[in-house]
Symmetry: none
Subunit: 246 residues, 2 copies
């Protein structure tokens, strides 16, 4: 099983990034991805707090969007304590680890910014929500502690079993393939005048993305659906139509 | 089950005590005991890092010896990464939690000082050693992260026994609504010439139905997607097209 990528979305304090990197290194998670770190990168505060994990032990990559950070990931969890009104499965760490165990390919855990957490747009990109059983009267975790909680759980799960082979399933679509499919879908919907009035665009897009990211598409299913979009948009064979190009 | 006491033996940095208290409060561990904190007690640095857990949420008591701190505890674990040459059982967090679950009375986890860890005298007082499955190449945990790892594991174990029903916000689509959506989709795909050659029809249909039925669509999402199919098939407004009717 490939260790999951840890993705910090819009982290603010370099100290927290460094502390997160340190505990990742402690538990063997070596793929740290940053989406728009507030104070830029590299960070001296992060290096100091990492106790030697940065630079060198943990590999850091920086991205401009959540989608880009997830490009090669098939199964994605968003950590959030707040109810979202989204129809995503909610799992604890054991549930997330179990799903990761039976899923081939690369996986990722999204963590939001200090105080504000993950934006809805980022949560929408996830297959499921990873939620910790926090004290309702004192629920705000430090960012690096939140990473520590998952990292330790992951290491315990790895340690506990000499891993049985995952049941053979189809290769999951990478996040890049899934996003490509959704963008193709949305572009054709746009061309067809679906997003009208324009004010409804974002809620309609979220609505569709939520439904589609829950499904755990395989790479083959993505190809089939892209063919379906194309057929609906332009037709095939005798059914081919020429659309107005607005 | 009484939440275990967390005992920090000779902690050095007030910041680490505060961060440990914060994550204890997050996961419902409210009994913090300090043995000879280097910089005395109370600590302003600890209060600042605790994000409100100190003073008040987590109860702190200070002792002069490990024995005194353990006076009311029946089952005690010592955390240490280093082999000790002591005849003590060594357990991971799941093993420790299982023993705590079946042991009545108060329990405790001992954590040593930054850098030096627990002295042999303190380890001797424990029933067993609690060891984390750390990366052998990067094994030194921050003190508060070490507390976070256990605290989270404890909360997950407590939580597992009392799983609340998954929160369901939106009405799930009935199977009739979902099938209606799929039939609508397939009918439009058929009209657009997608199922070609005809021999591929059943595998393509299965492929799409598998992906769509996994997603747990809500009734609202079904309506949105049906609107999307309609828009792609015929367009809306200026983008409307007249299709060949075969």
């Amino acid at each position: 099983m490939i260790p999951p990528a840890i993705i910090l979305v819009a982290p603010q304090m370099g100290e927290n990034i460094g502390a997160a990197a340190r505990v990742m290194a402690n538990f063997g998670l070596l793929d740290l991805r940053l989406v728009n770190p507030r104070d830029g990168w590299p960070s001296e505060a992060a290096a100091t707090m990492s106790a030697g994990a940065l630079p060198g032990v943990v590999a850091v990559s920086v991205f401009g969007t959540v989608e880009a950070a997830l490009h090669d990931c098939g199964l994605v969890f968003a950590t959030t304590a707040r109810p979202r009104g989204m129809e995503k499965p909610v799992v604890g760490t054991p549930g997330a680890l179990e799903r990761m165990r039976v899923t081939p390919g690369r996986t990722a855990i999204l963590f939001g910014a200090e105080r504000t957490g993950l934006e809805n747009e980022a949560v929408t990109m996830a297959d499921a929500i990873l939620s910790y059983p926090v004290n309702p009267d004192f629920s705000s975790l430090n960012l690096a502690q939140a990473v520590a909680a998952f990292a330790h759980g992951w290491a315990e799960a790895m340690h506990e079993r000499a891993l049985p082979p995952a049941p053979s399933v189809d290769e999951p679509a990478t996040r890049e393939e899934l996003v490509g499919m959704l963008e193709h879908f949305e572009a054709e919907l746009d061309r067809a005048g679906f997003f009208f009035p324009d004010i409804k665009r974002s809620v309609m897009t979220l609505n569709l993305r939520n439904a589609f990211t829950r499904a755990g598409w395989t790479a083959q299913e993505v190809r089939t659906f892209r063919g379906a979009i194309k057929a609906l948009a332009t037709g095939r064979g005798k059914a081919r139509v020429i659309r107005d190009e607005k």
